[in-house]
Every structure is written in C-alpha cells, then in structure tokens.
C-alpha cells in the first residue's frame, strides 16, 4: 500500500498579494469596475481640493471678532469665540469644572468595562446604571454638598446632548430588554399584550410629537401646582420612545437563538431568570450589537429635536449663535462644526461596536 504524502504548499501568484495585488483586485478587477473607479477618482478630484482649501488652507483661525475673517475661507474664529456656549450652554462659567468632572468621572467609571482582565464587569455596569444618573443630578443640578443649584434650563450645548443621549441609552437598554422578554412571554398573555401595546404605541408616534406632548400636554393632565422639570419630561419621553425600538432590536436577537439553547438550559434546571440572564441574553445581545448601536446612534442624533421644546443642545446653541448680529452669515461654519461633532461621536460608537463584536466572537456557531 502506498503512503499518502501531502503535496507541498505553493506560494500564491504574485499578482494576488501585496499592494499591487490589492489595487488590482479592489480597484481594477474588470473594465466595468475600472470605469467606476476612474469616475470616483474624478469626483474626489473635483470636490476634495476646494473643500480642503476652504476648511484648512484659506481658513482664519485666530481673533475674537468677525473683523479677523478676511481671507475668504472658513471663519473658525466664530466657532472659537462661541466654543464655551457650544460646550456648556448657559451653565455659569464658575461651574464649568462640574461639567468637566462629570465627563471625567463617567469615563473613569467606564474604562474598567473595557479592560479584559477586569472580572466584575456586570456588577460595575449595574452600578453605573444607577451611579450615572445620580452623578448627573448631583454635579449638574447641584443644590447638595455645597454646590450651587443650576436650573436645567441653563444646561445646554454638547454637555446637554451627551447627557440626554447617555441617559437615553442607559435607560432604554434595560427597558428594551424587559419589553422584548415580555413580548416573547407567550405563557403570560397579559404581560405580552401590555408589551405589544406599549411597543406599538411608541413606535407609531414621531419623536417630535412625544416631545411636544411631554412639554405641552402632560402638564395639563398633572394636578395643578405640581411642577415637573421640562428636561426630565423630555428625558422620559426619549427613553420610552427609544426603548420601544430597542425592544424590537433585542427581540430579533432572541428569535435568532436556536430552540435547543432554551431546552438545554431548561433541562439543567435553570430558572427562567437564570436561563435568560446566563444563556439567552448574552447570546442574543451579542447578535444584535450592530442593531443596538444603530439605535444608540439614532438616539444620539435625535437629541437635536429637543430644540422644539426650547432645550438647546449643541445644534441649538450653534443656531442661537448664528442669530447673533455680530456673527451673521457664518452658518456654514456653524453647521460644519456641528456635523463634525456629531460625526466624531457617531463614528466612534460605530467603531466601538465593531471592536466589541470582534472581541466577543467565539468561533463558529454551534
């Protein structure tokens, strides 16, 4: 009997590897794609140089008033001069450190969640869920620990955007999970119906309506004399609205879990909550990370809508600055700046989601 000897491994053809190989396979694989590549390059050539010229080369950077802007490029002096209101809104200047401290503490509390060796991630995440809103309230609103009280109507700018988005995310995720589980609970028809009605109601109305109702209609229903902070009402509105979307995203993940996983967990004697928390949710949430982050990104951008109830987050602040007679005519700079800010945050979230997926990847399914 002849022995089986494997054939030797050969090197791949040189035109499929290296930079040249990359250009060939990605840009010029066939005539049609080569034409597309050339058209795309031409469009880049048409748009990119003037944009760079305007935004960077010809732009004015230093100065304090519009007199400094003479070169015909972008007038970043405007953004620079108004930066404090863009970042902190009408928060008293002496209290800027409180906002900064809030950023700092929040980031410090989040970092351990991304350290591989840190073992108590779930516990810390749970603590953060409670700690974060509390921190916001203590540092921003004040009135305790000798901090002067700052009305929520003075909050604004990027800090308001971040607070609205962060609280929205932090609250919408657990709510969404509960709603999704409730909607799956076929053996509890009452719970299921309530969840379905809730989800379908909030998904059926536009966020603008929700915000209007929270600021205009809700006070009509509340007993006379009870005042209920406008920002808080907006936050609750946003949270309920987003948790309905979140619930549907998570439900998609729950449905993707094979029946065998539920059965294996049941067969071991795990109770419903243990089965859900230890076996089902970790897998379901992992599957829908892109969907969850998508919802977070949408929420982040939706925070701009609070402008219609008079809350001025970063876009609102920019628009207010544009109405300043001293700075009329610099709206392009203002909107480019706003777009850049949003893009940086949204893009980071998107990259983060990709890294998280790669990190949680544990080989082939089943």
């Amino acid at each position: 009997m002849a022995d089986f000897t494997p054939s030797p491994d050969l090197a791949p053809p040189s035109l499929t590897v290296g930079p040249l190989g990359w250009v060939r396979t990605n840009l010029f694989p066939d005539p049609f794609n080569s034409v597309l590549t050339l058209i795309a390059l031409y469009l880049v050539y048409l748009t990119l140089p003037p944009a760079i010229d305007w935004a960077l080369l010809k732009a004015d950077w230093s100065g304090t008033s519009r007199e400094a802007c003479v070169s015909g490029g972008a007038c970043w002096v405007f953004v620079h001069a108004r930066m404090n209101t863009f970042l902190y809104g009408f928060f008293p200047e002496s209290g800027y450190w409180r906002v900064n401290l809030l950023y700092f503490v929040t980031i410090a509390l989040l970092i351990p969640l991304f350290v591989k060796q840190f073992k108590y991630k779930v516990i810390l995440a749970a603590i953060n869920l409670v700690a974060f809103p509390l921190l916001v309230w203590i540092l921003m609103s004040g009135g305790v620990f000798g901090l002067s009280h700052v009305e929520t109507s003075n909050w604004g700018g990027l800090s308001l955007t971040l607070i609205l988005a962060a609280i929205g995310c932090v609250a919408a995720l657990p709510f969404g999970v509960l709603l999704a589980l409730g909607r799956q609970a076929t053996n509890m028809p009452a719970v299921k119906t309530m969840c379905v009605v809730f989800i379908e109601f909030w998904r059926g109305v536009p966020l603008i309506t929700v915000l209007f109702m929270s600021s205009v209609m809700l006070p009509l229903f509340l007993p006379e004399g009870t005042s209920f902070d406008k920002l808080l009402r907006a936050m609750i509105g946003i949270t309920l609205f987003q948790s309905a979307y979140m619930a549907e995203v998570i439900r998609g993940g729950l449905q993707a879990i094979p029946k065998g996983q539920y059965e294996a967990a049941d067969a071991m004697g795990l109770t419903y909550w243990k089965k859900t928390g230890l076996v089902i949710l970790p897998q379901a949430l992992k599957i829908v990370i892109p969907g969850i982050v998508n919802t977070f990104i949408a929420l982040f951008k939706d925070t701009t809508l609070v402008i219609i109830i008079g809350l001025l987050e970063v876009l609102g602040m920019v628009q207010t600055a544009l109405n300043d007679p001293n700075w009329l005519g610099y709206s392009t700079e203002g909107y480019v700046f706003t777009a850049a800010v949003f893009w940086v945050f949204c893009f980071s979230m998107s990259r983060f989601s990709q890294r998280l997926e790669a990190r949680l990847h544990t080989g082939h399914k089943r």
């Binding site: 065998g260 996983q261 059965e263 294996a264 049941d266 071991m268 230890l278 076996v279 080989g363 089943r366």
Partner: protein, 259 residues
C-alpha cells in the same frame, strides 16, 4: 474519583422504579402523539428506545424532564410526580441529565464554563469545587485539554462528549439521550458511543433513543420499540433482535439491519 465510585454503588439495579410512566397521553393540537404509554424504569437500568421517524420517541423522553407537557396519565420521576408545579419540575430537572442530538452547548461559554454553569447556579456549588468536578468529568470523557476552548472550536464528537460531561456535572440520577450520535460523522460516532458505554458500566440509569443497534445489544437491559405513539414491543436485547414478536418490529429491524 471517589464521588463517582459512590455513585456507582447507589446506582446498582434495584427493584425500585425511578421513572414511572402510567397511562401517559399527549396531543399536539388534534394530533395524538403519545397513546397510553406505560413504562417503568428501575434504578440502574439501561433502556434503549427505537422506532421509525415520527413515532414519538423524542416526545416521550422529553416528557420525562418536562420539556414537553403530557396531558393525561402520570409521570413520576425519583418519587416526584410531574405536575405544572415549577418547584417540582426544577427538582426533577436537577436529577435528570439530558443529551441532545445537536449537543446544544452554549457557544458563548468555554467548555469549562458550560460544565460549571448549572452546578454553580442550580446546585449553588462554589466555583472552585464546580471546576474541579468539571475537570474530573472532562477527563472521564477524555477531553480535559479542551477545557478552555469554546464549543465552536471543537469537532462534533468532542462537542457531544462535552455535552455528556456537562450533564454529568450535575451528578444526575438519570441520563436521557435523544439520538446522541445521529448528527455525527461515522468517525466520531465511536468516540461518543465509547463514552456512553463507559457511563453504562458505571451503573447510571440511562434512557437512550438511538438507532445504534450495536450499542443496544451491548449495554441495554431492555429495548423498547415504538410506532405511531405507542410502545409496541419491549424485550431484553437478545430476544428483541433475534426473536421479535410483532410484525411491525420485524419490518423495522429488517430495514435497519438488513443492508
């Protein structure tokens, strides 16, 4: 290994039935899947269940740990009757291990974590002890070196052995198998069957749906043949294979043995 030896002692065949199905009926909607099933399994007994596809084999053994609900008759496991009482169901599930056709390992957990999950969260065993026990059983199914891997990185045969070890970690009194080798390539069937034979030799009470007739001949105390939701024939393996009583059994045996 001491623990396993003890288990072996207490698992010797005794006259006391550990699973009793009496007049069990089940319907899926209008469809009558189980018809008057009567079956007593003694402690330490090894039962092989066979029969054509759709005859209700899976449904029957899944009723024993209440993955499926029966509508009539009674099922008593380890002295406890299965009702809709959640506490009793959980109690029975702690005592009954189950191995599935498609392994159903948890893909997000390592092999070791798969094995320690239930001992830690159901039996409230300290993590260290649970890991020790898990390693013992992983050694017993001959894959301790895979403990840190994820199920997705193992072959089918290895996954099924992990699934067996995972069930054993709960120290169950009864093991149920639902076609444990039918999703495996021929090369891997043997390693899983060897593990099961080893388990049978240790005196575990086993109920196994399988078409591996070699396995049935070597380890079964009794073979049960089902068709159309009924138990048609039950006998010790030698008689069952050499001298089947029922025409339907003969036909089935000639089909699976006759090629």
């Amino acid at each position: 290994m001491n623990e396993i030896a003890e288990k072996q002692l207490e698992n010797q065949v005794s006259d006391q039935p550990i699973i009793e199905l009496t007049g069990v009926h089940k319907w899926y909607g209008q469809f009558h899947v189980l018809k008057n099933i009567n079956l007593h399994v003694k402690k330490g007994e090894r039962i092989v269940v066979c029969g054509p596809s759709g005859s209700g084999k899976s449904t029957m053994i899944r009723c024993i740990n209440r993955l499926e609900e029966h509508q009539q008759g009674s099922i008593v496991v380890d002295g406890i009757e299965l009702t809709s009482d959640v506490k009793q169901i959980e109690h029975i599930r702690r005592e009954v291990g189950m191995v599935f056709q498609h392994f159903n390992l948890f893909p997000h957990l390592t092999v070791l974590d798969n094995c320690t999950l239930a001992p830690i969260w159901v039996r409230k065993m300290p993590k260290k002890d649970a890991e020790e026990v898990a390693m013992q059983y992983l050694e017993r199914v001959k894959i301790p070196e895979q403990a840190k891997k994820y199920p997705g990185q193992l072959s089918g045969g290895q996954q099924q052995r992990v699934a067996i070890a995972r069930s054993l970690c709960m120290n169950p009194a009864i093991m149920l198998f639902d076609e444990p080798t039918s999703a495996l390539d021929p090369e891997m069937i043997k390693e899983v069957l060897d593990t099961m034979v080893g388990l049978a030799e240790s005196g575990m009470t086993m109920m196994c749906v399988t078409h591996e007739m070699g396995f049935a001949k070597t380890v079964a105390d009794r073979v049960i043949f089902m068709d159309k939701g009924e138990i048609i024939e039950e006998n010790e393996p030698h008689e069952f294979f050499n001298n089947p009583q029922n025409e339907r059994t003969k036909l089935f045996l000639s089909q699976i043995l006759g090629h």
